[in-house]
Symmetry: C2
Subunit: 361 residues, 2 copies
């Protein structure tokens, strides 16, 4: 039996909202019923350009979207500094909240958002799309395989992107009043999430930022990295994020028996097909003249792109709540909070001269 | 005109000496004339098992090899703690010195070795084989290409190997009296060399070891890593080395316009064919639904394995000296010393609580 389509309201006309709008319309269980922008003209053009349904309500304020009874879920792609205000307000209006990453400027803000979602009984999820690609689950199966991977010892994750001059001067992600976490929030978020994902969300004991991050004139981070330490069998991880180098979206995970590599974990090169690479039980050839086996490529196809799978999963959780079958799924709030806790530790390590910072959930 | 074959004497029957002996016999300009071990019986068996020429002089001491007038070059694969003594003595006997890595326990020891080589007019080179693979030069061409790579921003290098229980208990590389640098000397050496190579041997300003290296009961490092900082346009590098995880021999170099990846930089999976992967000028697809181009694979074939190319290059330098055409080539001493200087900084950072250590050549 086809379930009722859940109706999204979208807060602002961010570039990323174009991709997520397409995903909402691609996902069989969702549609778009409203969009709000501070400029009605901009919202009208956005709705038209992105093929929103004719019936979409177009508003010149965000509040109007939250007040619209035809909106079930609010998607919030606003600049990070506005998340606290609008995500809380959406929850208070009993709208389920799909929140762009980075979710907040710090964990205190995120806690206010999560508390509002909890007390209003609405679902929360951050919009980290790659979590929903079927490749991600396949890679997790490998990491959990004692024979093919063994015990996880080290994860390295990197997200770099060579941003243009215009971005470096004008983008909200380098504006201290809008996205003060800069590359750490935009790019580092993914790397930290990847590391936690590989560790089944077991938080590290300490986080130590690499010396000498790069900042812009306003003090916004443009590149940085850190070491995460579990103080357990030598388990560590490192990440590096940057707005300065050509696109790289790598996870390298080293286990006692095998390795995993992926080079496009955040956005697959091709939305229909994802690859990853593994090798297990490597051995030297006689005299160490070579070694084998060589890494194998795994290919995972998907009919729906990862962002549509994210929207579909969110809708599934909301449907369960509306039918009385389940309460809001807490898992996504916990994962978001753990990611934010590590980001806060990176910031604290920088502020304290790159010393190890204890991670407290 | 065929040049005279240069004659190697080999100090000890280390496992790695089997591979290098094969390389000496494969290289057209070299042969083996002597081997010495503390056990004459062991040396005799080694010479036979490794197909040494019938004419090879087999000795029960190292000194006998150094005193043999039929030896032009000495290859020293002894445990690191013995390098100072035997490399210096070899130079004093006017033998050219091919020295296994890690070259010394610290830069003071290496300086004594280099001084002995210089004052005796003999060639010095460390046995870092991958430097001599034709792939290495091809990768360097890419890193130097402004259009396909741009300015180098970040290098990550990792060498891990899952060592067996027997190695962990008995190998000289975890014995504090023989190879007290442990994984740092054995595996980290390659990673540091790779980073310096990518930077045209421009030394970093500081080195900061990641917190919490793993040691064995004798205090020998079994896994560690560090951040290298150039304090110039945000250029940094990281490395990770370990005896705990399945084989990984990666370099990832990120430039402003392109990236380079190689997964078997130390010993190619196949000695005849090496691969590396590059991508340049990556762009998002419309709506960032994907990105491209995908990385391209480059394949470099070689008739002679990299260790034979190393031996051939060493012989070429020695022939130039013997013909009076040139003095000993200093480049290899400088590269070794820079690698050792960074290793010393890693050790100093550990001893001082993982603080940044200024790198002084």
């Amino acid at each position: 039996m086809a379930e009722t389509q859940l109706r999204f309201g979208i807060l602002c006309c961010a570039e990323i909202a174009r991709k997520v709008s397409r995903a909402i319309l691609l996902s069989p269980t969702t549609t778009i019923s409203a969009i709000g922008s501070r400029s009605l003209e901009k919202a009208t053009a956005f709705a038209s350009e992105n093929h929103f349904p004719e019936s979409t309500h177009v508003y010149g304020t965000y509040d109007a979207v939250l007040d619209d009874p035809d909106v079930d879920i609010v998607y919030v792609p606003l600049p990070t500094s506005l998340h606290l205000r609008w995500a809380v307000r959406a929850a208070e209006k009993k709208k389920h909240v799909l929140l762009e990453k980075p979710v907040a400027l710090n964990v205190a803000e995120l806690d206010a958002i999560l508390a509002a979602c909890e007390s209003n009984g609405v679902q929360f999820m951050d919009a980290t799309m790659w979590m929903h690609h079927p490749r991600t689950e396949k890679m997790k199966q490998l990491l959990s395989d004692d024979q093919r991977f063994g015990q996880l010892k080290y994860v390295h994750s990197a997200y770099s992107i060579a941003e243009e001059d215009d971005f470096m001067k004008n983008d909200i992600r380098v504006n201290p009043n809008l996205d003060s976490l800069g590359a750490l929030g935009d790019a580092g978020w993914y790397c930290i999430r990847a590391i936690l994902w590989a560790h089944d969300y077991d938080l590290p004991k300490t986080v130590t930022t690499f010396p000498d991050p790069v900042y812009n004139e306003s003090g916004v981070i443009l590149s940085c990295g850190a070491t995460l330490n579990w103080k357990n069998d030598g388990k560590i991880a490192t990440f590096y994020c940057s707005f300065f180098s050509n696109l790289c979206m790598d996870i390298i995970a080293l286990g006692t028996r095998g390795n995993l590599r992926v080079h496009d974990f955040i956005i697959p090169f091709n939305e229909k097909v994802g690859h990853f690479y593994t090798v297990a039980n490597s051995m030297w050839a006689e005299l160490a003249l070579g070694c084998g086996p060589e890494p194998s490529e795994f290919t995972i196809s998907t009919d729906l792109p990862q962002e549509a799978l994210m929207v579909r999963e969110f809708a599934r959780l909301v449907h369960r709540i509306r039918s009385g079958e389940a309460k809001p799924e807490k898992k996504w709030a916990v994962i978001s909070r753990k990611t934010q806790v590590v980001i806060d530790a990176v910031v604290a390590s920088i502020k304290n001269g790159f010393v190890p910072i204890e991670v407290v959930y």
